[in-house]
């Protein structure tokens, strides 16, 4: 077993010397940058918990390739129970970080590629699956983080990739050589990309004839020549530069997204897993999206647990915890959160063993899961704001609280229940602000809406699998549609007739 410690992970990340740009400047010491470090702490938590016996059941799995214990984030699901444990692990990590911990995208990418490479080989006589298994073994043995990179910038959405005025808005092959391919383009919204050792690229849509150069999947080191990252901003992100923990709300942990650029990156054939097989691009997109839509039934639920806890504390500190309407709001938040968890578990337990040998979630239920995720966190956040009160957005700053003259005034008027220190009341309100409006809201709200596909993408999948004809037949049978109607046998009810 070669599991990394959190410290080894951070050092290994620093050793990559990634090309990261933030605020127009290249960041060399990115592992210690105050805007970036919280996201690294999240990723490090996936290593920290894996080393703790009390979390081993969820955090570790047994590799089907080597028989060794590995971090579950590098595991190929071998049963419905594995799928369910994935969701539970994600809830646990959401609880521990109150944030997006970013490592799911790589896990979902390897599980999608596992079956698609196998099926491509069966149909085309290629050897992608063996290549991919060799790479997977490397990820598992080195306990690496892989970024699952799917979303292209896409340019003009009305045009297919090969008709874009600038083809670089989709990652594509610009050259095929004897020893590999050269790719160019970019991937947008890349969660955790700057915290990854490896990048796994997949096409972003089902490709059609003419798009062969865009139907490409490969892996490369995150520090491969030609790969660079432009760090994405988050609301209130510069509060992390103020050198005070209070106003950030969640100082230790945070999410991360970046625009990842491929400027003529060379990829050897042994790391190419799709190269022009347009007919398999749709399956890869659907399976990755399906796994990732399942993921949200765990990670967002864990963050929801933190937000519900914060709302309950805010009510306590305000002295209203016993009010019936407050209790009812907490119940509603819990109901919504557990409904999301139920969806994550349901699509896991209804999963199937694929011909490739791995287990895949139920696609309909995974899409229903994600569709609910596009809604319920917003209502949970609204209720949290309701309970917290307006102070969460009007509170004076940490500097005011610390000031010799102003501080006592702030403390005097921000008091809640007598036995609660004002600083603790402020901390909890700032956490709620972080999750509902601040940097944490990127993960909890907008990522819930658009991550793993925007709402309409799920509705298309739901429509495709809804089995509507069967439902119509059920209704026809109950309503006796088509049965001859004997009009002359109709009688008025006795009471009316009398």
């Amino acid at each position: 077993m070669a599991l990394k410690t959190p410290e080894e992970f951070v050092q290994s990340l620093a050793d990559l010397h990634l090309q990261i740009y933030l605020f127009g400047e290249k960041v060399d010491d990115y592992v210690n940058h105050p805007l970036i470090r919280p996201s690294i702490n999240c990723m490090a938590m996936t290593y920290e918990l894996a080393a703790m016996p009390e979390y081993e059941d969820l955090m570790l799995a047994t590799s089907h390739l080597t028989g060794e214990k590995i971090n579950r984030f590098t595991h190929i699901h071998q049963s419905a129970e594995d799928l369910a444990k994935k969701v539970k692990m994600q809830r646990l990590l959401g609880q521990k970080t109150g944030s997006c911990f970013q490592r799911c995208v790589g896990m979902d990418a390897v599980n999608a590629l596992y079956s698609v490479t196998w099926e491509t080989d069966q149909a085309r006589g290629t050897d992608y699956h063996e290549r991919f298994k060799k790479y997977l073994r490397y990820l598992q043995e080195e306990d690496l983080v892989a970024d699952g990179a799917m979303t292209d910038p896409k340019g003009d959405r009305s045009l297919p990739p090969h008709q874009q005025p600038d083809p670089d808005v989709y990652v594509h092959i610009v050259e095929k050589r004897d020893d590999g391919i050269v790719v160019r383009g970019a991937k947008a919204h890349q969660t955790g990309a700057c915290n990854s050792h490896e990048i796994i690229v997949m096409p972003t849509i089902a490709m059609r004839e003419g798009d062969e150069d865009f139907a490409v999947s490969f892996s490369c080191p995150a520090n491969a020549e030609g790969v660079s990252y432009i760090y994405g901003r988050q609301s209130c992100d510069t509060r992390k530069l103020e050198e005070t923990d209070l106003d950030v709300g969640n100082m230790r942990f945070g999410g991360q997204e970046a625009l990842m650029v491929f400027d003529d990156v060379f990829v050897p054939w042994e790391h190419v897993y799709m190269c022009g097989e347009i007919e398999f691009s749709g399956a890869l997109v659907e399976r990755f999206a399906g796994f990732h839509r399942q993921s949200y039934g765990g990670c967002k639920v864990g963050v929801g647990d933190v937000l519900i806890g914060a709302a309950a504390l805010a009510a306590e500190y305000n002295g209203v915890a016993r009010a019936s309407h407050i209790k009812d709001k907490i119940i509603e938040m819990t109901h919504l959160n557990e409904t999301l968890f139920s969806c994550g578990l349901a699509c896991s337990y209804e999963g199937v063993k694929m011909p490739a040998g791995n287990w895949q979630i139920d696609m309909l239920l995974a899409n229903v899961c994600k569709q609910n995720i596009t809604r319920f966190p917003y209502e949970i956040a609204r209720l949290a704001e309701d309970i917290a009160g307006g102070l969460m957005v009007t509170m004076p700053s940490a500097q005011d609280l610390a000031d010799e003259k102003i501080g006592p005034i702030v403390e005097k008027f921000l008091v809640g229940t007598c036995d609660t220190p004002v600083i603790d009341r402020m901390r909890v309100l700032r956490l709620i602000e972080n999750l509902t409006l601040g940097a944490g809201a990127v993960g909890y709200r907008t990522e819930s809406l658009h991550g793993a596909g925007s709402p309409q993408a799920q509705r298309i999948m739901i429509a495709r699998q809804s089995n509507l004809n069967h439902k119509k037949e059920l209704a026809k049978a109950i309503a006796e549609v088509g049965k001859p109607w004997e009009k002359n046998r109709v009688k008025k009810p006795t009471a009316v007739a009398g």
Binding site: H64, W118, E350, V352, K353, P355
Partner: protein, 102 residues
Amino acid sequence: MKVVYCGGCNPHIDRETVAADLPQDDPDVPRGATVHVSGCLRACASDHQLVAEGDGRAGAGAEGASAGPERPPVIVVAGELVDGVPTPSSELAAAVTRKLKE
């Protein structure tokens, strides 16, 4: 030949028609063959497996799927899939029949 049905709570295909169209008493179909017929992709009839374990056909399924020429074939129909391969509903029985005779 044995036909094993799922419970039938979400049929995307007409399971009974598929079963009825399978060959009966065909000397080319190995004795003891089994066809799992599930109405949807959840493949409940075959314990959620799109390719049956213990299928006697050489090369059936991927790694881990035990194969042996001495055992009779086991075919899985799950909605519009036959052993995991997309197949239009009108061609399901024919596809199964072909596989049984392979």
